[in-house]
Symmetry: C2
Subunit: 337 residues, 2 copies
């Protein structure tokens, strides 16, 4: 019997890894939002001195890793693994950053759920005795994502009110067997859930059932109730997905309303910044966690957090072929002990 | 100190997981090649009864998983994790298969290195005490890959002699803490290596330096010499990449010639089947390992194998932006004990 397994989908760590440092980099628009004081680096322009948005995203990811390592008082060569992914085809921003950094590398793809995928696997690698230090990181970029998934920006198309705004941002976390900081104590790995949503401009609704499934499974596997947490925070469901999630979790017997929020709603002022249903993209929960949440945990304003990054596993090909949008969500418990 | 770590990039398992069953599915062309008697399923046509090549690839992956689980005498619900990826944007074939199978899912992207990425992380999850049973799987499909990366097939363009033929195939392996079969004993995780090759029709040359780096690091970390192995087999370097690898490894002090081969050369008769430099794609090393190598290990004709799947981290965007092609390779030691 797997000795660290709780219930069907949850792991309880025997030697919970520390998150000894984080770093969050965001674009200019994110740097004008409500969380502006929590980010480590705010870009003045979203090309970041590069020749393309894709290279700018890659630089953002690379620099976030370097800054997190610096804040952990370690060197790049101390990092035994880099677990990372992004939204771009073939993980372009991640692959090129991994080339420059030279850290042994596992490429991940979980769409916007990638931050908790990297934290989950990273925590298992530390607790399992395979590494003392590693970095979990991800990124997204508004302009590179729009070019790839929707329309070239030059097209100037109108965005429906259900649509979300891809966050230009990257978050990197250093996990360690030693040191101090909040610990990763539980991981609940999600299944791919698809209730048949086909509208690529309504990702929140497509991802919500996966978030619900993972949150409810987490409660069942661990025996925790919502009151166990100071904050339960989904990745980037936005206004519509958050409302659906809260109701569906309630229907399954858990009232999370008092402690529940969504990174896609925290990062922008949707009214003032015209971001419609909220933020999205791998960089959304990554920069909100590595910026706002981690720093509030260090200050002990938050002590028990369930981070549930959520991903829509949509490709332009599957969309053109009339397929619906599968969603996935992974949950990670982070605890001040 | 990470207790299971050897040298810089290698893990030595304390409780090496068993590979209790595998299944390999291939397309019609692969089914006419030299390894035809080793595959579990050979498709009669590469649409496999589906409406698109992408859906056919997804079905191939899903059916490989189901057959491997059946051969292991287990049920789908016994599988605690599915670790999988493919070449398609947003892992379309994997995501849709994971949706149908309903197994907790970690999406991976390592281009053609994905089979050893999934075996590496899978072995860590079993040895670490997080699961008793899981499935590691990947796929590729000639027609879906050509459409995405190069030209629509209808274009009928001529292929240069350095080009490789993407394998239509999928391989699935069931890893377990119990049972019998060959064991995964060591894992050497690769770095992204890029020596500046820019020709997307010469992937072998682009990936070879990564294979060399991982193989030489494996020898240094473990203290093994090439003679330790009955077979050292790279993923899909093809004729050109294999020759480069053999020479570069020799220059670094190890003569692997007597035990070295490449999955991309094993799967096709390049002359008779007009596949130029050999096979490629995630499904290449996956189907050759899960078909030929695993079955030869069960028969004890092979007892110590170093499987080194190799990936070219090329995207059409990075290629159009004039970037070179980064490569990566992960090595896994599989031993009859």
């Amino acid at each position: 019997m797997a000795i660290k397994k709780l219930g069907k989908q949850t792991v309880k760590f025997k030697n919970p890894p520390y998150i000894i440092a984080t770093s969050a980099t965001v674009g200019p628009k994110e740097g004008e939002g409500p969380l502006k004081d929590y980010f480590d680096t705010i870009l003045e322009d979203d090309l970041y001195g590069e020749n393309s948005w894709e290279l700018a995203e890659s630089k953002m990811l690379r620099e976030s890793v370097k800054k997190a390592i610096y804040k952990a008082d370690k060197n790049i060569t101390d990092m035994e693994y880099m677990l990372s992914g992004d939204l771009l085809n073939q993980l372009m921003s991640t692959s090129f950053a991994a080339r420059d950094l030279g850290i042994p590398f596992f490429g991940l793809y979980g769409a916007c759920s990638t931050m908790t995928e990297s934290l989950s696997l990273g925590a298992m690698l530390i607790d399992g005795g395979y590494a003392d230090y590693l970095v979990a990181v991800t990124s997204s970029h508004f302009s590179s994502a729009e070019r790839q998934y929707r329309f070239p920006l030059e097209h100037g198309n109108q965005r429906p009110l259900t649509s979300q705004w891809t966050v230009t941002g990257s978050g990197a976390a250093i996990l360690s067997a030693y040191g101090q900081g909040p610990k990763i104590t539980y991981v609940t790995t999600g299944k791919v859930i698809d209730l048949g949503i086909k509208d690529p401009n309504n990702m929140g609704a497509a991802m919500a059932p996966a978030a619900v499934d993972t949150i409810v499974t987490h409660f069942k596997d661990t025996g925790f109730r919502p009151e166990h947490y100071d904050l339960i925070v989904t990745g980037d469901l936005g206004a519509i997905g958050k409302e659906i999630t809260e109701e569906m979790v309630f229907d399954r017997g858990y009232n999370i309303a008092k402690v529940y929020n969504d990174c896609g709603l925290l990062i922008f002022d949707n009214q003032a910044q015209d971001t419609h249903a909220g933020g999205s993209g791998c960089g959304c929960s990554a920069s909100v966690f590595c910026g706002y949440i981690y720093k509030e945990m260090i200050k002990k304003n938050l002590n028990r957090v369930l981070l549930v990054s959520t991903g829509a596993l949509l490709s332009t090909t599957s969309s053109q072929q009339g397929q619906s949008i599968p969603g996935i969500a992974h949950a990670v418990t982070i605890t001040n002990m």
